[in-house]
Symmetry: C2
Subunit: 407 residues, 2 copies
């Protein structure tokens, strides 16, 4: 291997930097001279904003910090490449830069949209008989990528969400006077993150009473009837809801509230507000105490609560992507294939990137108990291993230490 380049793209996760570390370490092991980082993904590459990763990662202490740093160390982008066509100036510019830097392999860590980038670049590469190899590394807290069993970033977000919900269950039970707490969790089209609420119920916790996922539309009267049964028992309860839940006519639940409050200052519908709408509806219907909360952006960057399984897999996938390029493969994405739940085992594999790009994987309907607003044991068994193990932060004066790029 001569030189390689790596970029990060799409939304932050708690472990996207572990994949970056995997790429760096493996490329160095396989003899790469330079490992370049694109600052702000492909968008930064187009502006030639690059960093030589040796500057930061030759130091093993910094490697440990990088693994524990949330968000994207290199910076990220949401940049959609145009359709590949010969002589297209965007592609000509990218490939000129890659030639200039003498790049063997291009790695991109991201979700659906980022795999679209890998797909287009490898297509253009074939069209122009370029030697550069293009390999994708999956990443997204949403876990909505096709083919791969799950995505790095998902397990740590679930670990944060489930631990937080477990604390909120205790918090809600503190007084004799019951309270219904509605907690809003990320997930516009797929309920994977919200489903992690199923982990909370155990010998030492009453669990989350209801789980509302966007895979099923919400029937408001039926929902209220179920809540009414809880209120009647005088119990406190936590209800977990995906931000993207909809009613049968296709409107988001948050749009049912006064329209004026549900748009941002530019008039765009905002999904936030689902938990508040439902909490208010419950209070109005039953005259009981309610609370609404949103886990918001905290849930995707909570590196102080990383799953060791997740960190390890993220790093392994980064390293494996380099191995695949070393074996001259291109236009592919590294994936995880689960071979066993108990004991948990996943092996590394890969797939043509066009199978993954732009597809959305939802929770199988057979894993959802819609009548009772719960999920099945299959879903519990699927998520549980992904949150196991804990990577302790490196604490400095009470705060988790990070590695940051001097931009």
């Amino acid at each position: 291997m001569k030189n390689v380049i790596v970029g990060q793209s799409g939304g932050p996760t708690a472990v996207i930097n572990a994949s970056l570390l995997g790429v760096y370490r493996k490329a160095k092991e396989l003899g790469a001279n330079k490992v370049y980082g694109m600052v702000y993904g492909i968008q930064g590459l187009l502006e030639k904003r690059l960093v030589d990763l040796d500057e930061y990662l030759a130091d093993s202490g910094n490697q440990e910090l990088l693994k524990r740093t949330p968000s994207a160390f290199l910076g990220s982008c949401r940049y959609k490449l145009p359709e590949p066509a010969l002589h297209h100036p965007t592609y000509e510019k990218i490939f000129a830069i890659l030639r200039e830097l003498d790049i063997d392999a291009f790695f991109y860590i991201g979700g659906n949209d980022s795999m679209d980038t890998i797909s287009k670049l490898s297509t253009y590469s074939c069209m122009t008989y370029s030697d550069t190899l293009f390999v994708g590394i999956p990443k997204t807290v949403d876990n909505d990528l096709a083919i791969t069993d799950h995505t790095p970033g998902y397990g740590s977000a679930c670990k944060y969400i489930a631990n937080t919900l477990k604390e909120l269950v205790r918090d809600g039970l503190v007084y004799q006077n019951p309270v219904i707490s509605v907690v809003e969790i990320m997930g516009r089209d797929a309920g994977w993150l919200t489903a992690s609420a199923c982990l909370v119920k155990d010998d030492d916790c009453e669990g989350v009473e209801m789980i509302l996922l966007p895979e099923l539309t919400v029937d408001i009267p039926h929902f209220l009837q179920k809540v009414g049964a809880i209120v009647k028992q005088g119990k406190s309860a936590v209800i977990a809801v995906s931000e993207g839940i909809k009613v049968a006519d296709g409107r988001y639940v948050c749009q049912l509230a006064d329209e004026g409050t549900q748009k941002d200052p530019f008039g765009h519908v905002r999904l936030a507000g689902t938990s508040r709408y439902l909490a208010d509806l419950i209070a109005q219907t039953y005259g009981c105490r309610t609370k609404s909360m949103e886990l918001s952006f905290m849930q995707r960057s909570a590196s102080h609560c990383q799953s060791l399984t997740d960190v390890t897999e993220a790093e392994s996938l980064g390293a494996y992507a380099v191995q695949l390029a070393y074996e001259d493969k291109s236009g592919i994405v590294a994936t995880l294939v689960r071979t066993s739940n108990n004991p948990y085992n996943c092996k590394l594999d890969y797939s043509a990137v066009h199978h993954v790009a732009n597809a959305v994987k939802k929770i199988p309907l057979s894993w959802i108990d819609g009548e009772n607003y719960q999920v099945t044991q299959e879903l519990v068994d699927y998520i549980r291993p992904l949150v196991e193990g804990h990577l302790e932060p490196i604490w400095d004066k009470g705060l988790a230490k990070h590695l940051i790029l001097k931009k």
Copy 2:
């Protein structure tokens, strides 16, 4: 010592159960026969809802779990005792139960209102020549108790808030396109919790750009002008705001928004919404991208992010309260007196409870730099030691394990 009784009162914290453990251990060490717990505080005591703590805490493994369990293990209440008067039925009932149980000493872990309970009970005890001793143990995430240097619960909440804000700073910087994130933190009258945002700035973090505290009224045009300077530089920024900030005419900032959205279904003003109001105002004024977030109830029960300093002090204060009763003291509250910042040192002391009850301690104005929406080094030096050290949760299948009462 014969028998003692202990209750928890007011809002949850991450370490109120460490104080409960301190009471239990010390009482046993000093020869107490029974250590009773009031289930749901004084309200539960009036219903004779009691638990013999040996059932749970004779086991040392359970003791370790209790220390790491958020919210109030025994359950809590917000119950205001009437003014003490001879033959008052509420007091007669309480003291009859205490006589029946042969109670030497009564411990109550709580904030301002709970110290009011201790004050009234000890007054009644004097009026009736009762032998029972009454000692308070401070607790509140708000840190607004008089006399004591700080309150158990505050340090862990600060640790959670500062670590979360540090992650949100990284999250906000992920794209080239800047974003102004407004994060709302608890604090109606005192800004102690929000002030912990000052810990975030360090070699490895850009820090929180502005801190808005309820100790000073907000001048909206001045605030917008400062934000404008940030927007002009094209920087992403995090702004930390207390839920209780007000404008000069006495209205809460959240009340400046459309009135209809700022009341709960029963017509009560709700403080939540401050961050959203300011984020929308900034977006409307400067046409920039903004986000709003609320740390909500997550910040007071985040036992997965406990400060070891806080846990240790909470337990010590519980134990010290028992020691004080053993020395025949009553009508007092155990306190912390800071003797040094560096190295950090606090000694245990006590004060007459009426000095603490119902008083609210705010941040000294000399510690706030209102012009720049920052705090002074004195405030950094005050908070820093309180978040130091980390008590690792006891993980079980990826989740922090708790000890719960079978009610």
